[in-house]
Symmetry: C2
Subunit: 415 residues, 2 copies
């Protein structure tokens, strides 16, 4: 059955009927309601394309209508990288087959439970799945279509029945950076009804990302809700900041507020770290029902946020009892023009060791391109008898790993 | 200058250097970090495409790299609809010209200040702008790339410097619908520091939409912030619900919570209206610093939400002093299989008239396909001497109009 839909009204009717109706006077403007780019002609010929279609065995069929395309491929963040035969490396792609109706399709065999990002390459043009309205942005890098594959390994990543926390989009003054800045604050189930003071996890994104990364790609609110409801994590607040010190907020909020952050700005100048300590933490502790003291503060972040976690906890050894460094070590990024100051690490490690945090957790994927920097970091920590826990996972520098790390780190906090 | 970026780390480096580096041992996995679908080969040939590019005179150049495409067009929600010469109607599109580098481009002359949605049609395939990471979802209908054109007419739609409210994503119990449901609650600047009790605007989306519509497409938090900061609107809470009675939350939150709402479910069965009165308003009045009584409650919505506004205020005449019906009248939608009960309108109008609300505001676009239903409504209101204000705007059933209506309605409230 062919259908036409009208924005705002939510009416779904067979397309033949719609086209017949359109010919009536007074219906001239109905097409104004149709998604931009939909032609009456096209609609008349259109069979709804279902994509992605998840089968009972977790195989997934991807489809896109492209009658004039010569080649359609599928690219997804689950696909391996291999030599491309031309001296470089490329993510492998899956070729789609063209059907008689101009709809290309490919079925990927049983996929592991996960939250995936994918796109089509239609004659080389990156195209989000037009049939899938669930889309996501990975910082300044890319946009993608989203696929959830259900199962035990991905069970924490979506909202389920049961008590739920709230996510608050709040703006705070940062005198350190001279900006009014945006962050997301998660409060746990029961927060509004309780008089208790909760501990706080500060959760940092990576370079090129922003404060929208953990609430969307990172699924942090769902992960924490589900861990708390399962009795696996203590009720806590989770503060998701913008780690780019020259940016007030994600560029989606306002082009006028945006200064195109180069990401690297947050890598080496220590400004975000200062604003976290001077502006963010005092704001949270003044405006929310939170417990203070190092035993009630945790800090973790990935990649650039891992560096910021390291720097902040080293420079403020009595501030956090729970510290998690994800996918980052004592990296030398000078080849990228980023000069990170590691000269004080020995003194910093000794000072933090003396403060004796309850947990210093380091997590890295075996295939992470920063893996060696983590080896270097661990060697220096070992040489100074610094107490830490190391978690090595499969995979690389990926959101899949960062969601897993959060789901493992949160249960260890505030115990 | 060609660049390559690495997800999570935020490093932007010239691509030649990246490719050279990649050939070193240890960099095999770097490409894992690149947006899915980016090939080393492709990157090596890539000049960053800038799109959309806004010139000083508000002309906008759109670009997309598609070396193998035969035809690339631009479609945007500002483009008119016209007969397509084949018995139907279609949104006009702008053709792009292909450059020698495989990049297609078109420049649209000075555009009016607005918040626009657009997409490319690459050989007939709807493609979001790969160079523009600002994307938006219009309910179940479509996804699009976003373009802001600054100017007086669009000045309310983005975040500016100055005090800001907060948006809270909250879940509440709806015994009426048997669901734990999600909504967004905007609290005005200064709310957290104040002991005042604020009035509340309940703001409803249209069919096919969900609770994410007004905070994103509708720019409601920015509009209300800016109106309050300009002294044009009273500080108020704004509650943005999900108007599909069979849906717990937008499908982006969880596939497991989703029951594919057909939109029409919210049109005629009055279930959402009941849940608004029985579940939402009591929740808000119990959990927030709000003033109660009809003089502190306003209700408005568009299209399906306009019908829900009408139904709720008619059935509960003493509940709201400020009522706004956008882009909806006494519509006969039986041709779409939706049977709205208008049989009680006369009694309802008399009852609401007796309750004497401060403002009953009706807004509709001249080109709205529901225009005639608003004429019918006004005739019935006039016949019963019901006091209302009518606002007729250019254009049709569009988010552009609904943002304008909100910006006009909010200043009239709670005075």
């Amino acid at each position: 059955m062919r259908h036409i839909t009208f924005t705002g009204l939510g009416i779904v009717i067979p397309v033949e009927r719609a086209l017949r109706k359109m010919r009536f006077a007074g219906f001239l403007t109905m097409l104004l309601l149709v998604a931009p780019g939909m032609q009456a002609q096209e609609l008349a010929q259109q069979t709804p394309v279902v994509s992605p279609e998840l089968a009972a065995d977790n195989s997934v069929t991807f489809r896109i209508k492209a009658p004039d395309a010569a080649e359609v491929k599928l690219t997804g963040n689950w696909m391996p990288v291999a030599p491309d035969g031309q001296g470089g490396f490329a993510q492998q792609m899956v070729s789609l087959e063209k059907g008689g109706d101009g709809v290309w399709a490919a079925t990927v065999p049983a996929m592991d439970p996960e939250l995936y990002a994918y796109a089509f390459m239609v004659d080389g043009v990156r195209t989000l799945d037009p049939a899938n309205k669930h889309i996501v942005r990975d910082g300044r890098f890319s946009t993608a279509s989203v696929l959830y594959v259900p199962g035990e390994a991905s069970d924490l990543y979506w909202a389920k029945k049961g008590p739920k926390g709230s996510v608050h989009e709040v703006w705070y003054e940062s005198p350190t950076l001279g900006l009014t800045r945006r962050m997301f604050v998660y409060t746990p189930p029961g927060y509004a009804e309780s008089n208790a003071n909760y501990p706080v996890l500060y959760l940092l994104h990576g370079g090129g990302g922003d404060e929208e990364a953990w609430p969307t790609l990172g699924a942090a609110p769902n992960i924490i809700d589900n861990l708390i409801n399962a009795g696996k994590a203590k009720p806590m607040l989770v503060v998701m900041t913008n780690g780019n010190p020259d940016q007030a907020a994600a560029f989606t909020v306002s082009p006028k507020l945006d200064t195109e952050s180069q990401g690297a700005g947050g890598m080496a100048n220590m400004l975000f770290e200062k604003s976290l300590v001077n502006d963010v933490i005092p704001y949270i502790e003044a405006h929310y029902q939170v417990a203070t003291g190092k035993e009630n503060r945790a800090l973790t972040g990935l990649s650039m946020g891992g560096l910021q976690t390291m720097n902040t906890s080293f420079e403020n050894p009595g501030m956090f009892d729970y510290i998690g460094v994800m996918s980052m070590g004592f990296a030398d990024l000078s080849r990228f023009g980023i000069n990170i100051d590691h000269s004080k690490r020995e003194a910093q490690i000794k000072a933090l060791g003396a403060a004796d945090p309850d947990l210093y957790w380091i997590a890295c994927g075996k295939d992470d391109f920063l893996y060696e920097s983590v080896v270097t970091m661990r060697e220096q920590l070992d040489a100074l008898d610094f107490d830490y826990t190391y978690r090595e996972s499969p995979g690389g520098h990926t959101w899949s790993n960062w969601r897993i790390y959060l789901s493992e780190f949160a249960p260890m906090l505030f115990k």
